[in-house]
């Protein structure tokens, strides 16, 4: 290939991997994590939960269908999961320079360059994944020309960086839902708007207990949940009431922390579209989309809470619910995008709880 530039991926354990640059030719540091999802890079890369992370894709050929053009749904993106790329860098085996898809507007490389995000290809991503699996997620950097320092994004308040600073209103349905934006994926908003909801999106540290609503939703988001002290504080107030609460991903962790349970960092997290979960106490299982590095420590759940879902691979907590009140949350992403849509019914369950609450 002509005009190729070599770049390096360097890990905190000293591993150095050479590869070829695509996207922006620039250096970046972050936490190196892997995802085994086979499709959905436009969705993944714009997922705010990936903020600060250098993402390794195990699927070997990436960029095949290009990147779609921007379209709006209400005032949010119709296609992407936020209004920009959130990953710090991208690592792949094979980059499909030429792409083909009816709704592609540009190549993956051009899109990355637009947001000044570096990519590296020609990397043995399986070798890298095994290293991350064995040693745990590591800090790392993509070095393009100029070297930079390693940086741990988990030390930053990433939620504060990705949460929208203004209160925003969407839709005009009959159920008034407050969405606490810790870095929400837009498909969560779409899922609500398809369901007769008036949505009030508030910043992560906004005191929503002061406003009128029928149900509370806690979004996904990046980083260590314990950073979100303000959200946890407001949530503790909400837990005193009986209005339905539903949380996803970081929302699940915040719900747990507010309830008095603890969270911990997983060795290398769950980032894929094929995580199997069991509805605790039944034979019903679902395939879910996941993206998280922290998890709820089930052993620390207070007596009035119980496990709702568990992971069939490693037994970790995939959701909790209150034994008597309409509070529940999932570690996985019922809104999918990307990934399987098997658990989208949970939005209906939540809104049923909201309706029940209003009718009681």
């Amino acid at each position: 290939m002509e005009n190729t530039k070599q770049v390096k991926l360097i890990l905190e354990d000293g591993t150095e991997i050479e590869g070829t640059s695509f996207g922006a030719f620039t250096s970046v540091a972050g936490e190196v994590v892997f995802s085994t999802a086979m499709t959905g890079y436009p969705e993944n890369l714009t997922d705010p939960s990936f903020a600060g992370q250098i993402l390794v894709l195990t699927y070997p050929m990436v960029g095949n269908y290009g990147v779609p053009g921007e379209e709006l749904y209400e005032s949010i993106s119709k296609i992407f999961e936020s209004d920009k790329i959130h990953i710090a860098g991208l690592v792949v085996n094979y980059y499909s320079e030429e792409h083909s898809h009816w709704n592609a507007a540009k190549s993956l490389g051009d899109w990355l360059a637009e947001y000044n995000i570096p990519g590296i290809f020609g990397v043995d991503t399986r070798m890298l994944t095994k290293k991350l699996r064995e040693k745990g997620a590591m800090l790392g950097k993509i070095v393009a020309g100029e070297d930079i320092e390693l940086h741990d994004p988990n030390q930053d308040n990433l939620v504060a960086q990705v949460s929208q600073p203004e209160v925003q209103h969407y839709g005009s349905g009959q159920h008034k839902i407050v969405l606490v934006d810790c870095g929400t994926k837009t498909n969560i908003i779409r899922c609500f708007l398809e369901r007769d909801v008036e949505l009030i999106r508030v910043p992560w540290d906004y005191d929503f207990t002061k406003i009128d609503y029928d149900g509370l939703f806690l979004s996904n988001g990046p980083g260590d949940p314990k950073m979100c002290e303000a959200t946890i504080g407001h949530l503790q107030t909400a837990l005193q009431q009986d209005k339905p609460i539903f949380g996803i991903c970081l929302g699940n962790q915040l719900m747990s922390l507010a309830a008095g349970a603890d969270t911990f960092k997983l060795k290398y997290g769950h980032r894929s579209h094929n995580q199997p979960v069991l509805l605790t106490g039944t034979k019903r299982s679902f395939i879910t989309s996941q993206n998280h590095g922290f998890a709820v420590d089930t052993a620390t759940l207070p007596a009035e809470w119980t496990m709702l879902f568990e992971n069939l691979n490693d037994g970790t907590c995939e959701g909790i619910k209150h034994k008597t009140k309409p509070f529940f949350s999932t570690q996985f992403h019922p809104e999918a995008a990307g990934g399987p849509e098997d658990t989208e019914y949970l939005f209906d369950d939540f809104l049923t709880a909201v309706a029940d609450y209003k009718n009681r």
């Binding site: 195990t58 894929s272 395939i287 490693d314 995008a337 990307g338």
Partner: protein, 1080 residues
């Protein structure tokens, strides 16, 4: 859970186009799953060459036809409490539907496990299927199911052209096709109605993407999609005829999950329990879709998906049918995670079909909505380029990959045609188009293949040019970075050699150059790495032994095997002449090696096999059986030995080169193998040993030929060396045919000379399969052909033990075999073919490897020849066994060929020296007649009800058919005859009714009678021995096949069949298991 105690499993019978080795895999897995549960298993499958019909897999095996009559008889006798019908392809499914409708399961209290039969009917009956999907708002193609021609034409009017016609209840798209106008619709509909009472006329979605999902559901309504697959060839080409990639490459997340969700919704609604396949058409310019069909059973695609992902679909489906939930079952690859999960792939898989259309005279070479391919390969890589080039080589059609093949000069008109009318060679035509300067858009316009695939192919094309251009210094000028890049794009060392150094000399130039490239590459440190297939993209550690090699990597996933190990080379792609029988041989070799304390390593790339199952060997390399790749693996693993004599001709052909590279080949020395394979050397050695053979001569010129023919007389047999299944072999009866044939034969083999030999008519053909140890025969089996020599041994019907061979003859054969074994210092398997006429014995050929008949004779005789051969290969001292008992067997086995002519429009359905059968069965009986009749019924013949047509051919066969005709008359059959035969019969006092030849255009005409189904069986003996007579006889044969009338073209076989059905009725055929025969 209420588990059954005794379960009956239906197999799929003989391998045929549309139904091949994949059902040996699925049935074997199901049997293992049930065995693990302590359930007693009964298998009905006449396919004696399969692994599933081996000892210790099912508790009892019935080598009987999978038809309602026989299955009911077995149920009556065995009284099973459950039955599995989803593991034997369409054959088993159709049989089960018939039994269900006949109330047989209810009558005997047999529970159908897994998907209910009603759900199967819902998916098979087009009308019901469409209604069911309408109920849940899932789109299907606009279509009308019709049962009459009038309705078919009316439907065509309503939907508008182009239109696709499909037959309901048909395997592999049989009776399907496209119609662009009313006339085409009429022709197509007429043909489809011969295979099915109901046909479907529907909107054509030509050019849409074709996508499939494998869906698994348990009885608790948990549902997953194990794999999705995208066809490289858009809709219009049957998925069995398409190049297929897994997972999909050009679908966005939205498209992928939209189709996935629809699949799950549909499968839940249909109530399937176990495994199924759902096929979609996806609009290439929107998210619009249609569901094409659901296969409520294990299928070719599910076997592929299983091999592609490492997820044991058939095994899991069998467990689910017992009532397990998915989450209760373990992922047997990781041993720790649950079976309720969807594999994540970190590689790409490409499946390519293999056709053998060149073997059929008159066949239509286009491919389309009906299956014609006879096998498939699966290639794994980290890029599409790497995988497709591997795959193109795996097909074993002489191609080196996508580029660097033997140059062809083709004009643009031909290229356009090859691109726009799909055919076997289309992918190579894409390269020709690139060479001719076509743009990607132009190729896309002609093929409708997605740009992404074409971009990848054009990358290969570009890299090939980069290698070729401006490299004066040849190999020395090749920079490491480019070398690495072309290896990542799947270039073989040979391709690199050709691009860099040219085609080489006439004889072995390319191969020598390949070695130079290999040496240079190794010196530069450009080596492949070994990666594992673990179902979860390395997310968790997995104990997987499922491996492939790639140049996209810097680290091997595992260390070489440290215990003493042996590598067994598999059989590669199934084609006419080599299929499941060699998989049986390979699996048995591996099992024996394991018993002898070796770690076993298999190299094979055929997804339809049991040898590529994750639990057969200690390590499985899903890789090319090429010199380069086998050496890569041997270099890495350093095994004690490599076995290449149990996989048929593909591994056998590697013997010399592997030996030159000092590979530790077990058994007979490769130099000896060459002396047997090379016809010239072989014949000289036979002369030296004083063993008679048909007179022969090497062809160098036409004059020399003519001289030889003057000496021995016509007919003569012509064939090239290194012959497999008689490729390019033919009998010619006169000078005209001789010249015509030579022109094509020389094309087929430029590296080896063509040999011509006298053709002895009316000679008996006898085969000996044996095992020798250091030149001493330690076990053997002799079988006899029903047909006289002249029918390829793969197409012949065989008795074991022999029925009409003198003891004296047997003794002579044995002495000859012993001489040969000694001269060639054979250690391991061998096969010798003999001719016997008037007590004189001649040797036709000798293969120093396992042969097609190994499973048949091993199973019938009870002496497992492969087991013994493997022990010899591993150096174990073996005892000479009691093969002499050959005549003492209290029962008889008959092996019969399965033909797939119905699937090959236009092909002349006739038996000759060139093999054309696609599979075989082997049945047992107390008498030769009983075994023969069971086998014939197993390959689709029916006992005629009322009438038989005899068109007796040359006088010699007319005479042979006199007695059988008399027998038919005596049994009350009406005998129809064409003119010559009618006259001859009349002269000999046998009354027959005259039917006119097709070209006599006069009634009563043969063709009319065939079309009106007034004839139950056709006996048509060709008038001469050559290919290419597409005349009256051809028309009779072809019409018989097209209208589903039984056809026999060999007088000896016809006689044996007539004698059998005239002396036995269905009720006389004993329902006896293999164990019962063994106990006799």
């Amino acid at each position: 859970m209420n588990k059954p105690n005794k379960v009956l499993i239906l197999g799929s019978g003989a391998l045929k186009i549309g139904e091949a080795g994949e059902f040996d895999y699925s049935g074997s897995q199901a049997l293992k799953a049930l065995k693990e549960e302590g359930i007693r298993t009964i298998l009905i499958n006449p396919n004696i060459a399969t692994v599933q019909t081996s000892d210790n897999i099912a508790d009892d095996v019935y080598f009987l036809p999978v038809t309602p009559f026989f299955v009911e008889e077995v149920i009556k006798k065995e009284q099973p409490d459950g039955i599995l019908v989803a593991f034997g392809g369409q054959t088993a499914l159709n049989c089960a539907v018939a039994l269900y409708r006949g109330g047989v399961f209810e009558k005997y209290g047999v529970k159908v496990l897994g998907t209910p039969v009603q759900s199967i009917i819902d998916t098979e009956d087009r009308d019901i299927f469409k209604d069911k999907l309408d109920q849940i708002g899932v789109f299907t193609a606009r279509s009308v199911a019709v049962t009459t021609m009038e309705d078919a034409l009316a439907a065509g009017e309503k939907i508008g052209f182009p239109i696709i016609v499909r037959a309901a209840f048909a395997l592999g798209g049989l009776g399907s096709g496209f119609a662009n106008n009313m006339d085409e619709l009429r022709t197509l509909a007429q043909k489809s109605f011969t295979t099915s009472d109901q046909i479907l006329v529907e909107e054509s979605l030509k050019g849409w993407k074709e996508v499939e999902y494998e869906v698994v559901r348990d009885q608790y309504d948990n549902c997953i999609t194990v794999c999705n697959m995208e066809n490289f060839d858009p809709i219009g080409i049957h998925t069995g005829e398409s190049i297929v990639v897994a997972p999909s490459q050009t679908l966005s997340n939205r498209e992928y999950h939209k189709l996935r969700s629809i699949g799950i919704k549909t499968i839940r609604h249909l109530g399937i329990v176990g495994e199924c396949n759902i096929q979609y058409a996806l609009d290439p310019v929107s998210e619009d879709y249609r569901v094409i069909e659901v296969n409520a059973r294990l299928s070719r695609s599910s076997a592929l998906a299983s091999k592609a992902t490492g997820y044991p679909l058939a095994f899991v489906a069998a467990k689910l049918s017992l009532g397990y939930s998915l989450s209760e079952l373990k992922n047997s690859v990781t041993q720790t995670t649950s079976a309720f999960f969807e594999p994540a792939l970190d590689y790409v898989v490409v499946k390519l079909p293999r056709w053998d259309l060149g073997k059929f005279e008159g066949v239509n070479r286009q491919i389309g909505s009906a299956m014609k391919s006879v096998g498939e390969v699966m290639a794994i890589g980290k890029s599409f380029e790497e995988a497709i080039q591997k795959g193109l080589r795996m097909l074993d059609t002489g191609k080196r990959g996508f580029v660097a093949n033997k140059p062809e000069t083709v004009d643009t008109t031909t290229i356009d045609q090859l691109l726009s009318e799909p055919n076997e060679e289309r992918i190579f035509a894409i390269n020709l188009a690139f060479e001719a300067g076509y743009t990607l858009d132009q190729v896309h316009e002609l093929t409708k293949i997605d740009h992404w695939f074409l971009q990848r192919l054009s990358t290969i094309f570009r890299l090939g040019n980069q290698l070729a251009e401006g490299r004066a210094n040849g190999l020395d000028g090749l920079e490491t970075s480019l070398l690495r890049e072309v290896k990542k794009a799947g270039f073989s060392d040979q391709q690199i050699a050709v691009k860099l150094l040219g085609e080489g000399d006439a004889m072995h130039g390319t191969k020598a150059d390949e070695l130079l490239v290999r040496a240079r590459r190794k010196a530069l440190g450009v080596l492949p790495v070994i990666k594992q297939i673990d179902t979860l993209a390395a997310e968790f550690p997995a104990k997987t032994n499922y491996l492939y090699s790639t140049y996209h990597g810097t680290e091997n996933d595992l260390e070489p095997e440290t215990d003493k190990s042996v590598v067994v080379l598999g059989s590669g792609v199934y084609r006419i002449g080599s299929s499941v029988e060699f998989d049986w041989c390979g699996v048995n070799a591996v099992q024996t090696a394991a018993e002898e304390g070796y770690k076993t390593i298999i190299i094979n790339y055929n997804p339809e096999t049991v040898s590529t199952d994750y639990d057969v060997s200690d390590r499985l390399y899903f890789e090319e059986l090429s010199f380069e790749r086998v050496m890569d693996i041997l270099d890495f693993e350093q095994p004690e030995g490599v076995i290449l004599s149990t996989g048929g001709q593909i591994p056998n052909n590697l013997a010399t080169r592997l030996a030159e590279a000092k590979a530790p080949i077990l058994g007979t020395a490769p130099a000896r193998i060459d002396e047997a394979e090379n016809r010239h050397k072989f014949s000289s050695i036979m002369d030296e040993l004083g063993i008679a053979q048909p007179r022969w001569k090497e062809l160098t010129s036409l004059e020399a030929m003519n001289e030889f023919v003057r000496e021995v007389g016509f007919p003569v047999l012509i064939r090239p060396s290194y012959v497999l299944s008689g490729a390019a072999m033919n009998v010619v009866s006169n000078n005209f045919e001789l010249e015509a044939f030579l022109q094509t034969a020389v094309e087929v083999s430029s590296e080896y000379p063509v040999v011509v030999s006298e053709f002895i008519q009316e000679a008996k053909e006898i085969e000996l399969d044996a095992v020798a140890d250091h030149g001493e025969i330690v076990s053997y089996a002799i079988s006899e052909h029903v047909e006289f020599a002249g029918v390829h041994s793969g197409d012949a019907t065989m008795y074991y033990p022999p029925q009409r061979v003198y003891v004296g003859t047997i003794r002579k054969l044995k002495i000859i075999a012993e001489k040969i074994a000694k001269r060639y210092e054979i250690s391991g398997p061998l096969n010798i073919q003999f001719l016997e006429k008037n007590g004189e014995i001649r040797v036709i050929e000798c293969n120093i490897r396992a042969s097609r008949s190994y499973p048949f004779v091993s199973k019938v005789s009870g002496n497992n020849l492969i087991k013994k051969a493997t022990q010899v290969l591993l150096g174990k001292k073996v005892e000479r066994d009691e093969s002499e008992r050959v005549y003492d067997l209290p029962f008889v086995g008959v092996k019969a060929p399965q033909f797939s002519f119905t699937r090959l429009p236009g092909a002349d359905p006739v038996l000759r020296v060139d093999m054309v059968s696609t599979g075989e069965v082997g049945c047992l009986g107390d008498t030769a007649e009983e075994a023969l009749l069971k086998s014939m019924l197993s390959v689709g013949y029916k006992i005629p009800q009322k009438s038989v047509l005899i068109s007796g051919g040359p006088i010699i066969s007319k005479v042979a058919l006199l007695a059988p005709a008399a027998l038919l008359i005596k049994k009350g059959y009406t005998v129809y005859a064409t003119q010559g035969t009618h006259r001859f019969f009349a002269e000999n006092g046998i009354p027959s009714s005259l039917l006119f030849w097709p070209d006599e255009l006069q009634e009563p005409n043969v063709l009319t009678y065939l079309k009106e189904k007034k004839i139950d069986l056709v006996i048509n003996i060709p008038k001469n021995l050559s290919k290419g007579e597409l005349d009256n006889d051809y028309k009779i044969r072809r019409t018989a096949v097209d209208f589903g009338v039984g056809l026999l073209t060999n007088a000896r076989l016809a006689k044996a069949f007539i004698q059998a059905f005239c002396s036995l009725e269905m009720k006389d055929l004993k329902i006896k298991s293999w164990n019962e025969y063994k106990a006799m």
